[in-house]
């Protein structure tokens, strides 16, 4: 039976998140003290060899990312991505609500590695109460001198999904429309105000204090070797236990849904699960034994994404759900590049046509071709991933589509 294993949620429910003393008594800020005795290079090597990979979706080695920041850069920034815009995801809120100082300590550890004096937390506009909560914690940490000369400021987003993309996020902090930039240059070289910037997800930062405390070998030995550690998943949809679970990354999808999640309610059967948020793949029964690590998921043609786990029972109609998702992307496309601006519009149009029984087989073919073009031609991850739900439901749940087409003929 699969079990939870808590690293980033170790203090959750055990300490009062509003109390700095509680955090200190649980060993808080000791890791930050320890890294101050290390050189930046030693720290980066430690994080790199722990094999900690980004928890925001792209799965990039965190230490390696920090290593891109030029050693001689006079001004650098640490940016925490708390945009959490993927529908079905509430893990970063869970972590920060339960243990805000853990995030601050993680960011300060990163600041030591890249010699930064200024950090920003970009918090989604839907979480103004989290902004207050974080500002209180920052004030406590500053007053008691924990953060040294590192400052952290919270900036609030404005309800645009694309602002979770790191360069759009940077544009937004700079006070602009949140449109992604062309890469390269990557933020590690030219990010916020053109200065070298590390952008990491909340959960990535939150793993750092434990890695510094227990060492890289300890971390590398947990879960799957290529994507070690734990991952926080948030369960939604047709599943008994709709709440966050932190599990080692070698846990399988089936164990997460059926052991921890308690399975499908009301005696219904499983039909599909979408993992990683609304841009994730729809996964059928026969792939449920895939472990929840980045590489195993990718090898199975699916995505790990942010940790959203949206379960659907046998009564759910994939065409209905995917039409809804197509509307999401049409709405959230920032419009900067043509393949996504037009593509998300046409995808939604075609999905509506299919849903209302007016589509022919050639419409479905066009939808499939358009989807494949978008994965290649769109500028940022939004447009590239937008077709995933369409392509994976066409592949695994084609009956739901065919049924609609028959209706059109008769």
């Amino acid at each position: 039976m699969a079990q939870e294993y808590r690293i980033v949620l170790a203090n959750a429910g055990k300490i009062d998140p509003a109390s700095l003393d509680d955090y200190l008594n649980a060993g808080g800020y000791k890791s930050l003290e320890k890294v101050r005795t290390m050189s930046a290079k030693e720290l980066i090597d430690l994080v790199r060899s722990s094999k900690l990979r980004g928890r925001g979706g792209a799965g990039f080695n965190a230490g390696m990312k920090w290593g891109f920041v030029p050693e001689t850069a006079p001004e650098t920034y640490v940016v925490c991505n708390l945009d959490e815009g993927e529908p079905g995801t509430y893990k970063d809120r869970t972590i920060v609500e339960a243990d805000p100082h853990l995030l601050l300590e993680g960011m300060a550890i990163c600041a030591h590695a890249i010699r930064s004096k200024q950090g920003y937390i970009y918090c989604r506009g839907e979480y103004p109460f989290v902004v207050d909560h974080l500002n209180r914690a920052i004030e406590q940490a500053k007053q008691s001198g924990q953060l040294g000369d590192f400052n952290i400021e919270v900036r609030m987003g404005g309800g645009a999904y694309v602002c979770g993309e790191e360069t759009a996020l940077i544009e937004s902090i700079e006070g602009h429309r949140g449109e992604p930039r062309f890469k390269p240059p990557f933020p590690g070289v030219a990010g916020l105000w053109g200065k070298p910037t590390v952008v990491n997800n909340v959960e990535t930062f939150a793993n750092l204090p434990a890695i510094v405390k227990n060492g890289s070998e300890w971390f590398a030995s947990i879960g799957s070797p290529n994507y070690p550690g734990t991952k926080v998943f948030t369960l939604t949809g047709d599943v008994v236990n709709r709440r966050p679970f932190e599990v080692p990354t070698n846990t399988t999808i089936r164990e997460l849904i059926f052991d921890l999640g308690g399975g499908i309610p009301n005696g219904k059967a499983f039909k599909a699960v979408q993992i990683g948020g609304t841009s994730g793949a729809f996964i059928p029964e026969h792939l449920l034994d895939t472990p929840l690590d980045f590489d195993s998921m990718r090898d199975a043609g699916i995505t790990l994404g942010t940790g959203a786990v949206f379960v659907m029972d046998e009564t759910r109609d994939m065409v209905d759900v995917v039409t809804r998702i197509a509307k999401f992307f049409e709405h959230e496309s920032c419009g900067k590049c043509n393949p996504c601006r037009e593509g998300t519009f046409r995808s939604y149009e075609l999905m509506k046509k299919i849903k209302t029984g007016q589509a022919t087989p050639s419409d479905v073919e066009n939808l499939s071709t358009l989807s494949k073009v978008m994965t290649k031609a769109c500028l940022c991850g939004l447009g590239q991933a937008a077709p995933t739900p369409i392509l994976t439901t066409l592949e695994h749940f084609s009956d739901d589509y065919k049924r609609r087409l028959l209706a059109a003929i008769s």
Binding site: E84, G85, E86, P87, G88, T89, Y90, R93, R124, G125, E126, Y127, P128, F129, R155, M156, G157, G158, G159, A160, Y161, S172, I173, E174, G175, H176, R177, G178, W193, T234, L235, T236, G237, D238, R242, R243, P244, Q274, T278, A308, F310, M312, R316, V321, R324, I325, F328, H331, E332, C334
Partner: protein, 147 residues
């Protein structure tokens, strides 16, 4: 507080335009025309640019809105949990359609994408406070709290 005073608090902050907009909205519930004009002067950008930023973000509104802004999540997890019926019931109770404000200026009804409370779907927020596990029969009790 007056718009110019609010903007002045953020004028020297790097990238402070969006922060200023949030603060103005906290006060007025939307961004009046004057806010765009004043912000463009204070931040040294054109009025078109200031407007472009204001209209990019779904949380910011250049249209006048009610005292209570009700946003209903229609993302997939809320969708399968019955968001459509909830929306119909909200429209019926309020006597307005989505995107409109009640004639007394009290409520504005908007659609939103996931608000990050998907443990108990469907979800609405009223002035950013989440109400989870909503259903049509809970609407009147929730609205009664808005005085």
């Amino acid at each position: 507080m007056d718009i110019r005073e609010i903007i002045a608090r953020y004028q020297d902050k790097p990238g402070g335009l969006i922060e200023a907009y949030h603060a103005i909205q906290d006060e007025f519930n939307y961004l009046p025309q004057e806010a765009i004009r004043e912000a463009s002067l204070a931040f040294g950008i054109s009025e078109a640019q200031a407007y472009g930023v204001a209209t990019f973000y779904s949380y910011l509104s250049v249209e006048k809105r009610g005292k209570y802004i009700i946003r209903m999540c229609e993302s997939a997890p809320c969708h399968v949990a019955g968001a459509d019926e909830l929306l119909k019931a909200l429209e019926k109770t309020l006597g307005i359609e989505v995107g409109q404000t009640t004639p007394d200026g009290k409520f504005t009804l908007e659609l939103a994408e996931c608000v990050g409370q998907c443990q108990e779907t469907p979800v609405i927020t009223i002035n950013s406070v989440p109400y989870t596990d909503m259903s049509p029969d809970k609407i009147s009790a929730v609205l009664a709290q808005c005085t």
